[in-house]
Each structure stands twice: as structure tokens, then as C-alpha cells.
Amino acid sequence: MRGPSPIPTPDPVLTVNGLGKIYGRDDAGTIDRTGSDAGSARDPITGAIVAAWDVNFEVAAGEAIGIVGESGSGKSTVLRCIAGDLEATSGDVRLSTHMEGRSNVLLADPATRRRMRIDQLSVVYQDPSEGLALSVTAGGNIADPLTAAGVRSFAKIRERASELLSRTEVPLNRMDDIVRNFSGGMRQRVQIARALANKPRILLLDEPTTGLDASVAAGVLDLIRGLLEELDLAAVVVSHDFSVIEMLTNRCIVMHHGRVVESALTDQLLEDPHHPYSQRLVSAARA
């Protein structure tokens, strides 16, 4: 264990320890038979899928950590277990906003976990239809978490919705249009506005710009970076795209077949990757 450091680092807002998610029937040997070294997340004996195992990291306010890896590496699984969209098989996740970090939120009851999603922790999904009701207006989508948090005044809701939409650069005259009629980039901006409605301390971003045109993606990335700096959020960014990770994060972890194979400073990962898989990933991205 490390002693007190002469270089003070900020206290974590989100702490993840030993997080794991297994689908199907596992036995005592499953973990050894899966992972990066085994070359697969699937246990050849029981058929269980170890989507994520032994994932550890912490994030402080004003800091963003990246999770990189190819499709199926387990990075979105980790994010969804933290968010409560998926039930983790094992692990300990603490938020400084929940009982001052004294309690493992993975053990909290579903109602408590839903409440955390209202004003402590928000998620921005790759697919806006996961984070938004497409048949509802932009304003209505933002009103939803506000009313859930107990805001009753219509005027206050409208005011906060306009504030958020201007901050995310959505034209205010689109506030009463249904989201289905919005472009991909605009939907993503509304999703971000909704995620920030109740000023959460933690923001989880799952491939937030994947699937958008390059110029639109660049605009959304600029917005996200500005918000992360301005709002002092603790953020986790899941992406297979190194340019996204490089732009938004200082540190990152690399996942392969459900395991963390490397954690590093982002510039170090790009210039001096150590794990064979990280080296392959970086050289493919740089080619």
C-alpha cells in the first residue's frame, strides 16, 4: 500500500473495485479459462461469457477517464453496471454523493439506484433512443428528470430547459418539437442537456459521437469537453476511437476480452503502449 503522497490528488467521486459481469453458468475455473490471455471472454467448458472481470479505477471531480477497446471487449458492460442498467455479478462501486461513499451502490435496492440516476449520475448513450423518449419534445425530455427531482413549477422547468438547450447549442425554437424530427447530432445534444438537468456530479458517456458525421461529431465533442471542464464533472468515456479518448481524457484503461490489460496516462498509452493488445490497437488507429 502507498503511504500519504507528497503530491495531493483530489478525492475520488466514483470508485470502482473488482467489478465483474458474467452471463450464464460459471464454475470455479471460468475466470482462468477466459480473458485476454485465454483469447476469449467465453468459457469453453461451461459456455459462460465473462463480459467484464476485476475492473478497478477511480475518477475525481474535473477528471475524465477513458475506457478503450474493440467491440465486445466489455467496456460498455462496465459502464452499464455502474449506471445500474445491468446487474453486476461482483464488485464494489462507491459514489461520494451516495452516503459519502460509505456504501456499495451495487447492493442498493432498485428504487435507491433509480434515484441516483436522477441527480447524482447520468448516462449519455451512443443511441439517443436509449437516453431520450423520441416521441416527446426536447423540452418534455428535459422536464422529465426535473419533475422526478421534485421541481413542480412549470415556469422553472421551462427556464431550466431553455438554459440547458442554449448551453448545448440547440436552437430554442426547437424546444417544443418532438425529438424524432431532430438530426443525429441535435438528438445527442438534447440527450446531453437532459443528462445534465439536475446537475449530476458523475457523467458516463458511452460512445457519445460514434455514428455521427465527422463534422457533427467534432461539434458534439467540443461541447462535451467544454462541459466537463466547466461543470467539474467526474466523467467516464467509453470509446473505441482514440481521437475521442485523446481529446477528453487524461488517463485511460484498455479492455480486451473482458479484462483490463493496461491502465495508463492517455498520452503514454498512445506513445508507449505496453500490452501486446494495446500496441495492436494503437498501431491500427495510427495507420
Partner: protein
């Protein structure tokens, strides 16, 4: 190694030394797993000391390890063995090699600055924003940082009409000066410079060189790679010559400089 061990194994630093950096037997090996697992040596046992107000220029032929050394100290490269003892603001000495990623993040931009010849990442920002942020990152208030950013940009001849333009559309020389202005905001204790004036026209090169000289005078320890002998002769107090990742010669600038050739400062 824990921080305590790092502190304990460091030589006691006398205050009057003003020692900032004490690099001992630093090595860096790159293991290329996907090219038959071969190992490429970047640094093989580099040792030197650098004090406040000193300016050491690194020389050596292309591939001698000059940039690798800067990157290893900044921790963009993870050193393989050796120590990099760094004296903190409060006088404590720590080994940069053993620090956690979070600790490195805290030191960067605050106590250790790095300016490279290329503006890496973050191109989609205005010049003023980029330089202001460097100050905010270092703990200045936004307004104070903005004022100082304006002063630095003026100092480096970046016209006000360019301040709110995305850095990505600026010329190479302009980018480099913006980069330099950002690196110089609220001077760090240790400044690592990788060819900071190489893309500049003569006039801008002069203002950049003046600025770097002033930083040394104010007590910043500078470790730099230049690819012209003129910049070295005007800025460096000492020269370290590297060859195949080790120090072959070092000494005061006027001793070493006469023996250097253009080949010793190739990128």
C-alpha cells in the same frame, strides 16, 4: 516503490543547491510485442543533474535519445529502470518513475511544463482559450489567466485578430508560438522543450528565444532540444551530448559547443 521509499532513497538535497532534477541511470526499452517481440533501446543509463535557473541543451545525432529523454521525464514514456528525482515546490523530493498516473497528472502543467514542436491534440480551440486554460490548469483564476494569456500572446506577436480563431487553422509558426505561450503560462519549475523554435521565422524566433532566456533568469530549470547551434549558444548554460541513449560528453556550453557539428543537432 512507494513514495516514502522514493523520498528515502533520494540523496538529501541541500536547499542552496536549488537542485530540481536528478536523473540516475535512466533506461528505456521498448518491447515491440507485435514485431517478433523484439526490444528496442531508447535510453541506456542516462544520469545528470539540473538546478533552478540552469538551462541544459541536449545534443546528439538523430536517434541518440534526446526526445526520448524529455518524454521519459514527462512520463509520456514509462521509464524501464532508473530514477528521476524531482524537487517539489515544498522542498520534498519524489521519484517521477514511481508516481501514480494521478500524481503525474497533478504535476503536469503545474510544476512540469512541456512544449513540443507540434501542437498535440486539442486543436479545436481558440488560441486565447488554449493559453488561458493552461493558466487555469495551473491554478490561476480565470480572469487572471486570461489577462496573462493576452500578455503572452502579444509578447509572441500573435495578433489579436487571431485570438478567437481555432488553433487548427493557424500557420505552423503561429501554432508553435501559441503552444509556447501555453507552456510558459505561470512558469513551471521544470520546463521541457522539444525544438520549440524550429518552425519560426527569424523575427518570431528572436522573441521566443528572449522569452525562454527570461524564464531561466527567473529560476525555471530548462531541459531543451534545439536543432540549431545558435539557439544553444544563446540559451544553454550546459550541454549534454547523447549517443545511442547514453551521455558521452557534458560540460559548460563554451567547452562543448566548439566541438559540435550540425549533425549533432539533427531532429
Amino acid at each position: 516503490m512507494t513514495v516514502e521509499q522514493a523520498v528515502a532513497s533520494a540523496a538529501p538535497v541541500r536547499e542552496e543547491d536549488g537542485l530540481i532534477l536528478d536523473v540516475r541511470e535512466l533506461t528505456k526499452e521498448f518491447v515491440l510485442h507485435n514485431i517478433d517481440g523484439r526490444s528496442v533501446s531508447g535510453l541506456s543509463g542516462v544520469s545528470f543533474r539540473l538546478s533552478a535557473g540552469e538551462h541544459i541543451a541536449l545534443a546528439g545525432t538523430s536517434g541518440a535519445g534526446k526526445s526520448s529523454l524529455l518524454r521519459a521525464i514527462y512520463r509520456t514514456y514509462k521509464p524501464t529502470t532508473g530514477n528521476i528525482f524531482f524537487t517539489l515546490e515544498d522542498g520534498n523530493t519524489i521519484d517521477l518513475v514511481g508516481l501514480s498516473d494521478q500524481e503525474v497528472t497533478m504535476l503536469r502543467g503545474r510544476q512540469i511544463g512541456y512544449v513540443s514542436q507540434f501542437l498535440r491534440a486539442q486543436p479545436r480551440r481558440s488560441a486565447l482559450d488554449l493559453v488561458t486554460r493552461a493558466g487555469v490548469y495551473r491554478g490561476m483564476g480565470r480572469d487572471e489567466a486570461r489577462d496573462m494569456a493576452a500578455t503572452s500572446l502579444r509578447r509572441l506577436n500573435i495578433g489579436e485578430h487571431l485570438w478567437d480563431v481555432h488553433v487548427s487553422v493557424l500557420s505552423g509558426g503561429e501554432k508553435q508560438r501559441v503552444n509556447l505561450a501555453a507552456g510558459l503560462m505561470s512558469p513551471p519549475r521544470l520546463l521541457l522543450l522539444d525544438e520549440p523554435v524550429s518552425a519560426l521565422d527569424p523575427e518570431n524566433r528572436e522573441s521566443a528565444i528572449d522569452l525562454i532566456a527570461e524564464l531561466s533568469q527567473s529560476g525555471v530549470a530548462v531541459l531543451a532540444v534545439f536543432h540549431d547551434l545558435d539557439a544553444i549558444s544563446r540559451l544553454a548554460t550546459r550541454i549534454i551530448v547523447l549517443e545511442k541513449g547514453t551521455v558521452t560528453r557534458s560540460g559548460p556550453t563554451d567547452h562543448i559547443l566548439p566541438s559540435l557539428t550540425v549533425g549533432d543537432v539533427q531532429p
